[in-house]
Every structure is written in C-alpha cells, then in structure tokens.
C-alpha cells in the first residue's frame, strides 16, 4: 500500500467511528496537556527564582562581613572574636583587583522619612554612584548619586517609586527637600518601579551616599559589598582576588564571606529543574493511561471490523498491510491527540500567565517535545497488539462474520 493511501485509509477508518475517535484523541490530549501545563508550572517556578536572582545584577560577586566557617586557629581570634568591620576602604581596595569592573558598597538601616507632615519608616541604603550600574537598575527621573569621594557625600537622596507615590502623590518630587532621620536630603532621582524583588525591594528604598548612611546609623561597617566582575568567565577570579585583598587588609585573617551569584543560582536551578522533571514524570502516567485506552479502543475496533479485515485479506492484503493500516490509525489518533494536547497545554499555560503575570509559566521545549514523543510512542506501542491481532485473523472466519 502506498503511504498516502495508507494515511487516507486510516483517516477514513477513524472518521467512520467519530465517537471512538473523539474519545481517544481527548484522552491522549489530556495526557499531553497535563505534561505541558505541569512542566510549565515547574519550569515557571525555576525561571521565576532564577530571574529574581539575576535581577540582583549580572556577574555579581557579593562580599559579606564575617565568616560562616572557621578554619583553624588564628591569633586574632584568641584576643577577640568580633569580626573586623568591612569598611569603605576595604570596598575601595577591591577596585584594584584586575578582574573587577565595578564595586558598590552597601550600608543598610531603617530610618524615617518625612516631608510636609507625612512620615513613614523606610529602609535606607547607603551606597555610591556605581550601585545603579552594578545592579542594572533603571532610573525613572532625575539622576543617580554623584560620583566622587566615597568618604564624603552630598546630602542627596534617590527614592523608590512607591515612596514617591506615598509622600508626594501627583506632586513633583525632584528637587524637594526631605528629612531622613535627623538630616535633610534633596531628592535628585527616582528609581523606576521594578515590582517584586528578592531581598530589598527598590520600590521602597531610599538611596543616599554611603558615608552619610554610615554616619546616620553610627556604624563603620558595610552590610555588603557588591562586586561586578569583568565577565562571566572572570567571576571566579574576581572572587579569589577579592578574598585575597581583604585577607591582606585584615591582617591575614579571612573574616569575610565571598559568594557568587552563580553558585546560588545553580543550586536553585538544579533543585527546581529536578522538581520539574518529577512533575513531568507524574504527568507522564496519564499518558501511559491514554496509551492503554488506545489499545483498548483499537482492540474493540479490530473486533468490530473483523469482516472488513477478512475482506481486505480476500482482496489480496497481506498480514503486514493490515498491521500497518491499524498501526497507522493508532499513530494518527495519537498524533492528533498529542497536537491537540500540545495546543491545550500551551493555552493552559497562557491562562496561568494571564492570571499571574509575574510567573513565567512557559513549558520548556524539552517537555513539549517529550510529551509529543511519548504520546506517539505509547500510541504506536499500544497499537501493536491490536494490529497484530487484526493481521492474524483467519480470513474465512472473519468473512463469515457480519
């Protein structure tokens, strides 16, 4: 039999019993759709977390004061176990490392901001002009903190979008004087709204020069130093250079923790990737169920079409031809179900994205392909038994049946 004839024959046979065909395609499509939707959810979670971490900035190395693990005895620890401060000078020293492009110190505290009788508590972050580049944050209005000596700073502040809305409403905020803590600052810039963010939400942040923040909180230490490496490849180098510089500056004691964003990201990536696989596996069970249904329906079909099979044999069809015809039909129904399920799954994922815009519920490519592939394979695999049964029917007995 020629391939186009085979396909037409299988199509006509499928169309000859619409209810059976519809049920089968539906079962298969539900299986595939569940794979697509569930992996979209799993992979969406992974993407969400990865995106949030990426929003911290790219090629980022983060320096924290203090060491989580203690390695060996150090004379310094014998006298005092208070970790050394991570100072602005330390941060500035990191700029000497060859693999480092930018450095942004970060001092954080809470304070009150007031203007025109309105007062609210805010998180104040002291940093430098580099911060906006390191974190890749967009500015909505005005300019960011000025370049200059890190140990001095003008009384200028950049506020988050939400704070602008709450304090000024529709009135212009740029150039206004506000009181933060016991100091007066002029607002020189407004951050663009970035929505949710892990850790600090810049929408509710007030950014001031790092020296003023330290003075405000009466502290010498930095909360973090954000270091941007030259490139993705130099992250590890930047990390070791930063560790070495700070160790040298702290009298040979490694009392800071240097983490790379990549390490954190990779962990989450792996964790949630595994979760997605597990979910896909559960969804695949429904595909196996659909496969068994294909077998069942095809077996019934063979019984119903016994006399037709006998006729085909009398007309010169070999067992192979009949087997191929039934397999083609099973494959076509599975394929139709798989394609329908694929579309349904994507529609489902699109609805989820509509309902939760922050959640990137896109099914991964591998899941879509695996879903389609599994549907086809199960369909054909479970189609083999009925097809063989059809091919083996005795033509005399089959013809006698009506």
């Amino acid at each position: 039999m020629r391939a186009p004839d085979l396909i037409r024959f299988a199509r006509d046979a499928a169309a000859g019993n619409p209810l059976r065909t519809v049920l089968l395609v539906l079962a298969m499509s539900i299986g595939v759709a569940s794979v697509v939707v569930l992996t979209a959810l799993g992979d969406g979670a992974r993407r969400y977390v990865v995106n949030e971490f990426s929003s911290l900035g790219t090629n980022l190395v983060i320096v924290l004061p203090g060491k989580s693990q203690t390695g060996g005895f150090n004379p310094g620890n014998a006298i005092t176990n208070t970790p050394r401060d991570l100072t602005i000078d330390d941060a500035q020293a990191l700029l000497r490392a060859s693999a480092v492009r930018r450095v942004a110190p970060l001092a954080v505290g809470t304070s009150e901001i007031s203007v025109g009788g309105k007062l609210r508590e805010v998180m104040v972050a002291g940093t430098t002009a580099q911060y906006i580049d390191v974190r890749r944050l967009p500015l909505a209005q005005g300019r960011f903190l000025a370049e200059g000596d890190w140990r001095r700073g003008a009384s200028e502040a950049v506020i988050g979008a939400k704070i602008r809305d709450e304090l000024f409403g529709a009135n212009p905020a740029l150039g206004q004087l506000v009181r933060i803590g016991d100091r007066r600052f002029r607002i020189i810039g407004i951050m663009a709204s970035t929505g949710q963010g892990l850790g600090m939400n810049t929408d509710e942040l007030v950014l001031v020069p790092v020296s003023l923040a330290q003075a405000m909180f009466n502290s010498n230490t930095l909360f973090r130093v954000l270091v941007e490496a030259n490139s993705r490849e130099s992250i590890e180098l930047a990390k070791s250079q930063a560790t070495a510089i700070l160790k040298a500056r702290h009298e040979g004691e490694e009392d800071v923790t240097v983490i790379t964003q990549d390490a954190v990201l990779a962990t989450f990536d792996r964790l949630l990737g595994t979760l997605t696989l597990a979910v896909a596996g559960i969804a695949a069970i429904s595909l196996a169920v659909a496969g068994i249904l294909v077998m069942n329906v095809m077996l019934v079909s063979v019984t119903q079409r016994t006399s037709e099979i006998g006729l085909l044999k009398a007309l010169g069809a070999t067992g192979g031809t009949i087997r191929t015809a039934f397999l083609t039909e099973a494959a076509m129904l599975s394929l139709a179900g798989a394609v329908l399920g694929f579309l349904l799954g994507h529609a489902g994922a699109a609805i989820i994205r509509q309902l939760y815009p922050v959640y990137p519920a896109y099914p991964p490519d591998w899941a879509a392909i695996a879903g389609l592939g599994t549907a086809l394979v199960t369909g054909i695999l479970f189609g083999v038994l009925p097809a063989r049964r059809a091919a083996r029917l005795d033509p005399v007995e089959s013809l006698a049946k009506r």
């Binding site: 039999m1 020629r2 007309l315």
Partner: protein, 234 residues
Amino acid sequence: MMNEPLIALSGVERVFQLGDSEVHALHQLDLRIDSGEYVAVMGPSGSGKSTLLNLLGLLDRPNAGTYRLEGRDVTTLSPEEQARVRSERIGFVFQSFHLVPRLTAAENIALPMVLAGTAPSERRKRVDQALKDYGLTNRAGHRPNELSGGQRQRVAIARATIMQPAVILADEPTGNLDRATGEEVMRLLEELNGKGVTLIVVTHDAALGARAQRQLRMEDGELRQDSRQCAPRT
C-alpha cells in the same frame, strides 16, 4: 503450459475439529478446471462447497493434498505470497456483497488496487472504465447504504474484476437479490466468462447451476457428480 489446467486439486483433504469429532469438509478431492470454464458448484449446505471455494481462493489451506494454480503449487506458499496470488489472480464475489460501508462505490472498486499499491493515475483510469462498464458512473460517489442491492453487487463484481484476475469465485452471488436483479448480476458474470475469465459459482439454486457449462455436485465433502453440457457459448 497449454495442457496445464488452470486449477488442479489432487487428494485434497480439509478436516475441521469440532469438539471431539473430526469433520471431513473435503475428502480426497480431485478436480481439474481449465481456463475459461464456467463451473457451478452445487450441493446441500454442509456439503463442503463453501470450503472448496475458500480453498480455491487461498483463504484456507488443505490438511493434505496439493493445489496447483496455473501450474504452480500454491499450498506451500507463504501467507504473503498467497496474498499476492489472491490480489493478482483471484476475484471474489460474496453473497452479502462485503462492501466497506465508509467508502464510496468508486473507492470500493479501487480497494484491491490500493492494497496492491497501484499508481493513482492508473487506478483512476481503470475505476472510470469499470464504472462505465457496469453502469455505475452516476453512482460513483455514493456509499453502499445509498445503493440498491443490484448496484451493490455490481460494485462488488467491478471490484472483483478490477485486477483482471484469471478466475472469479462467486459464493451465492444472487442469494441476497430478487429474481430480476439476480438475473442481471448473473448476466454480468457470464459476460466476463465470455471474455475468457474462469467463473466458479457456488449455489444451491438448481436453476442457477443449470446455466453453467459444467456442474459439480457435492455431498459430504465428496464430489458426487461432474457433468458437462456442451452448450454453445454466446
């Protein structure tokens, strides 16, 4: 090759197992049918005439004996080779027509060629000719349930002849038809025989059997009578 009969059965046995007992549907059957003959196989039900037809059509295998079709021993062929012989040399006409209900008349006629893998252009040509020959041109797109009994059997005959077989095996071809329609169907089959196609008709209708040049009367799986009448062919 000239002396070789179309069909030669020798010592053919067909035994069915029914519970404990063995039923000899065919017993020590020897039969020669020459090319172009018109043979009627008659006998009461259970006499083995349908079994004989299935055997001749390679739908069934004998338990013993040999069956030579056009000088070739076909009992030892593999199922695939037998299917090929059925496809090319044998045409079946059934009592209950056996048309595929979801296919149109034209598609039913084309079915043997589809199964054999004939090219679509050749198929169309032959189907168009067959539709014309059997007066079905304006019925080509109709499905079997939209056709009358006579039309259905004409479709079935067109299908049986589309591969230009050497022999047509008809099992009670008029059994489901009224007298007039049955007459018309027999006339079509006899016309084919007139063109040189060997025609073997199984029937229990004596009047129908009498039309053939040769009558085989079967009883209990044995050939009881083999009579020829030398009626001139038209």
